[in-house]
Amino acid sequence: MSVAAGLGPPLAVLAELTHRCPLQCPYCSNPLELVGKERELATEAWKRVIDEAAALGVLQIHFSGGEPTVRRDLEDLIRHARAADLYTNLITSGIGVDEARIKSLADAGLDHIQLSIQDTEALSADRIAGTHNSLQKKLAVAGWIRAAGFPLTLNAVVHRQNLERLEAMIELAVELGAQRLEVAHVQYYGWALTNRAALMPSRAQLDRATEIVEQARKRLTGRLIIDYVVPDYYAQRPKACMGGWGRRFINITPEGRALPCHAAETIKTLQFDNVLDRSLAEIWNQSSAFTRFRGTDWMPDPCRSCDRREIDWGGCRCQALALAGDAELTDPACALSPSHDAMRAMAEVDAASSETKFTYRRLKARSAL
């Protein structure tokens, strides 16, 4: 197929309103180089982006971060998105959110909340998040979310240091009245890549986790939907990262850069447009970053001739860069990649490591260039 054929508008925008966050999780999906408050897009710029997204055919907007609730204009943006008939989702840690704020978000018309937990064991949760009393606060927030009538998704990022509590996490989701639970194995980019030796599960841990999720899905059908994201390091075939490069999502950073995925800035050879300079439609349809790996024409072999090329879309470009040294190569998660065995070996070494210390995600001052 050609690059442009059959390409519709994006389904969703991930609006990273801020990189500010009270937590310091060592697997954060934000880049190592975080954007400070002074560089964040203003309210009016976000509203224009929301209008452009709706006009382009975007259906859902995910307000994310950092911790999006640190933005005092969040309700204003939610109202604006609802007025544009977008489905609004808030991705929050819940930390710093009180009952009045939850009610205010409900009044603004927010459709859904995804609340993260780091562990079901309080001290471990605090150690992972790099904070205090986080679990207790989150449980209170979950109660307020349900009391306000919101559907709740609980999000649990899992790794070697909390995977033993997976069954307890599932039970907690049921107890809290969550409709959905996302069990997401750490994806190793940015902060998580830095912390890989302290996070990587063993193959046996992964298999056990998969079995627990499969059993729970059967047992809880109609009560709890469990989404399960597997780690690629033990995979035979790559995931369709973001549903394919530039096919479904636009990620917008706090300073307004439009990315095909949240880790795309690690690919230094790409140039990303800012929503302050170009319209979202132009960026989606024409920008070099979005068109660079869209479709199948860019693919090397073995991807180019593979019968899965329109299933996995070549997997993840950022992972190809991080592990095979070139964003244009086959994702090493694929068994057909020459780097696949090396990736697997790295996972096994990391999984056997006794490392437990984290490098926490922190906002550092950027040098003024």
Partner: protein
């Protein structure tokens, strides 16, 4: 299904909305972190689950629309509704 159960009023699950998507020229179901393009019959049922119509009314309308025996339609509607409930689109 007993007559009693037919008095229940089926509703979309919390956080689920139906929308006509002008950009793609079709109906979509918007749900928490999911977007679903419903099949024709599922869409018809979802659109009738408006919090007003009872299950009996929905079955009556569909039986009339399809000019089909009510008990056949009732079986189909029940089966499809339990599927939609399992997918989290209708309230249990």
């Amino acid at each position: 299904m007993s007559a009693d159960e037919e008095t229940t009023v089926p509703r979309l699950a919390q956080g689920v909305r139906l929308k006509f998507d002008a950009a793609r020229d079709g109906w979509v179901v918007l749900a928490p972190e999911r977007i679903i393009v419903p099949e024709e019959t599922a869409l018809e049922i979802l659109r009738k689950c408006d919090g007003e119509r009872s299950l009996a009314a929905i079955i009556d309308e569909l039986a009339a629309d399809y000019d089909a025996p009510r008990d056949v339609i009732a079986d189909d509607v029940r089966a499809l509704m339990s599927e939609l409930t399992a997918k989290g689109l209708l309230r249990p």
